[in-house]
């Protein structure tokens, strides 16, 4: 046999590439954060519901934690635990989105104001990343079962987890900027 690429190197390439991709995807958030600062300064609208926002943020953190545990599970070779973990994380992420949709639906925050514009843009963009993240988590949970991820081979799960954590951090920062800072 000619030399084949060692699996480790292949995975290292994927890993590096995916991280760079996430770094690149942080640019849009940095841009909106900068605009938030320019347009709103440190103003927090009194009509913004800190309660709802906090519950959403809590859901975000919780699902991030669950996804992280799922990754630990597959590292220890527990395939079913991983699959269930990803699906649970996706459901909680979905609940967070439903809450967001509710908040948007009530229009307590008027879209035509400076704060409102930034609010809808920032929460909309992080919601969009979350939607993609949910799609990826669900897809990978199916893939994991069909191709039988193992403790050695589970790069796809790792990637899904990276993405999920990325959107969680971005969403949490948005929460801090929108409701507290």
């Amino acid at each position: 046999m000619a030399v084949t690429y060692a699996k480790d190197r292949e995975i290292a390439a994927y890993r590096w590439g995916f991280r760079i991709f996430l770094v690149s995807q942080s640019v849009p958030f940095i841009l909106i954060f900068a605009d938030w600062y320019m347009f709103d300064g440190y103003y927090v609208s009194p009509v913004a519901s800190k309660w709802l926002g906090s519950i959403e943020a809590f859901f975000g953190l919780l699902s991030g934690l669950i996804a992280w545990q799922a990754l630990q599970a597959i590292r220890a070779g527990h395939l079913m635990a991983m699959i269930q973990g990803f699906r649970r994380a996706a459901v909680i992420g979905g609940a967070q989105l439903v809450l967001l949709a509710y908040q948007w639906g009530t229009r307590f925050i008027p879209p035509g104001t400076r704060y409102g514009e930034v609010y809808y843009t920032l929460s909309g963009v992080s919601g969009f990343y979350e939607l993609i993240g949910i799609f990826v988590l669900v897809a990978i949970s199916f893939r994991a079962a069909r191709v039988q991820f193992t403790a050695h081979y589970h790069w796809d799960a790792e990637a899904a987890e990276y993405f999920w954590i990325f959107q969680m951090v971005a969403g949490f920062l948005s929460y801090l900027f929108l409701y507290w800072i």
Binding site: K7, E10, E117, T121, R143
Partner: protein, 623 residues
Amino acid sequence: MEQQITQAEARNNPQPKVMHMAPVLRGLVWATIGFAIFDLMTVAVDPFRGRPLVTEPSVVVGWVGALIGWLMGVGGYEGVILPLFGSPSTWVEPKNWRKYFGLSTNHKVIGLQYLVTSSSIFFIAGMDAMAIRYELMQPSMHFFTYTGQYLTAVGVHGSLMMFGVGTVVLISGLGNYFVPLMIGAKETVFSRLSGIGHWLLPAGALTLIASPLLGYWDTGWRGYEPLASQDPGGMVFYYLGIFAMTLSTIIASLNLAATIIFHRARGMTWARLPLFVWGILTVSLLNLIWQPEIEMTFVMALLDKLIPFHFFDALGSPLTYLSMFWLFGHPEVYIIVLPAFALWNEIIPVMAQKNLFARDWAIIGLIFVMMLSGLVWAHHIFTNMRNSEMFPFSFFSEMISIPTGFSFMAAIGTLWRARLRFTTPTLLVLMAIFNFVIGGLTGVYLADPPVNLQVHDTFFVIAHFHYTIIGGAIFTWVAAMYYWLPKLSGRMFNDTLGKWLALWIFIGFNGTFSQMFLLGLDGMNRWVPAYPPYLKPLNYSVSLFAFFLGAGFIANAIHIWWAWVKGPKSPENPWHARTLEWLTTSPPPDDNFDGEVEVVRGFYRYDHDEPSAYLVKNPEPAE
């Protein structure tokens, strides 16, 4: 620990998909269906007065549906979605010419797809330019009926050329084809993603071409606010089209950067990495930072139109948009020329058979240009700034010419006392260097506030950036096509004819754009289809040269095409180059090298006869 991961990449499906329709056709059908579904769903939940079937918001959502349908249809469904859910991929890549018309994972196929798509865009946007020049032959409107038509023509021309040609040909096109070969790789890291990435380019270009359907837009390629927010619906397709094209560039850059870092052959150390590869690596990093920046800016501008929000319109801060655009915009211009700089220093040492002068400085120059390019953006908006704010931007803009000079220094140092072989690629590279000197120096003038405030938004600026982009980057593209033609096709062009054709575009180009400097100084404004009659003679002559130039590009394309299919067979390594792409057959086999590559020396020294690399052939399969 060596483990096969094929188990997870189930590609050898026993029952390959029987395609009933060419993937591109299926893509079009699915795109139409996707558009209809998403569009109608949107008008159902968000109806508009009079219940039209297409509204501004619905066209945006519909476009997303069309894009998804298109990407699925060209092969994304079998190639990406099925494996993502763990089913084996049923996608088979054909072995014949059909492989160019669907999703591919082979970087050479992808590179050619990019080159062909991008050349088509170059042709369309070029015909657009001819229409613009035809209109400007007379001081009053005689060709276009409405000013909006003229301005849309200008906007489509600029956007297609910047995002579909300038940013694409040297990076996604030649980069995809040659970077893996030049580093001795057999494949790229994210091949499937990269294959999908190509299909975003025609989607984006078609979107821009379709933009007049939604109403003529007036802003040109910069999408300046607050004009954009009050412009007709065509703006929407400007944002969406560029969004798709930049996404394609991001994907190509990500793939190439990862490949350069992880798939180098044995012995290909950083100190030996070819210059073109360095060029692609630096611009890939620029792309990964700045293309997402402009995408988000466009999303915000789009929200301004749809909702409407007021980020950048007259109630908000148009200047913020200007800064956000040029934060990306200036790096973008370097994204276009850095690979060209690198190519000069790739081709000249080969043609001179002489050591590359100051190789390290050439690379340092590339890296410093990359870093400084983010610090100069405001030289594009001097007219909107206070005097006191201009200085730092003026300063850095002029300083950036120092690392730029390093590339020139390497090229000129190599040429110094060289016995240069005077071939078509040599000639074109020398022309590109000449043109870029003019483009770059006028850039330094423009970065001087007193000059800038006089000539901003005149044809002087048009001449400046066409000298850098056509004169520098496009000439280098043509040079590289001739240089690599024997590799791409195994055939040779006619050198005498090639030189005459080079001269043709050189005369056409300089005739067109040198006169634009004069036009600008005489007071000819950008973005106007009509002008004071005293400018007519110069404009008339510019247009004649422009038609001559356009015909010259077509003539070069025909020559290259002819040589590609019918030219005489070329020797294995006609230029006696040392880089790795010449170590394999022409055109290269599917997996690039029939064996393992080992690099033992740098590629730019010609003062010895030792090879730079060895190809350890695979053993012949036993009969």
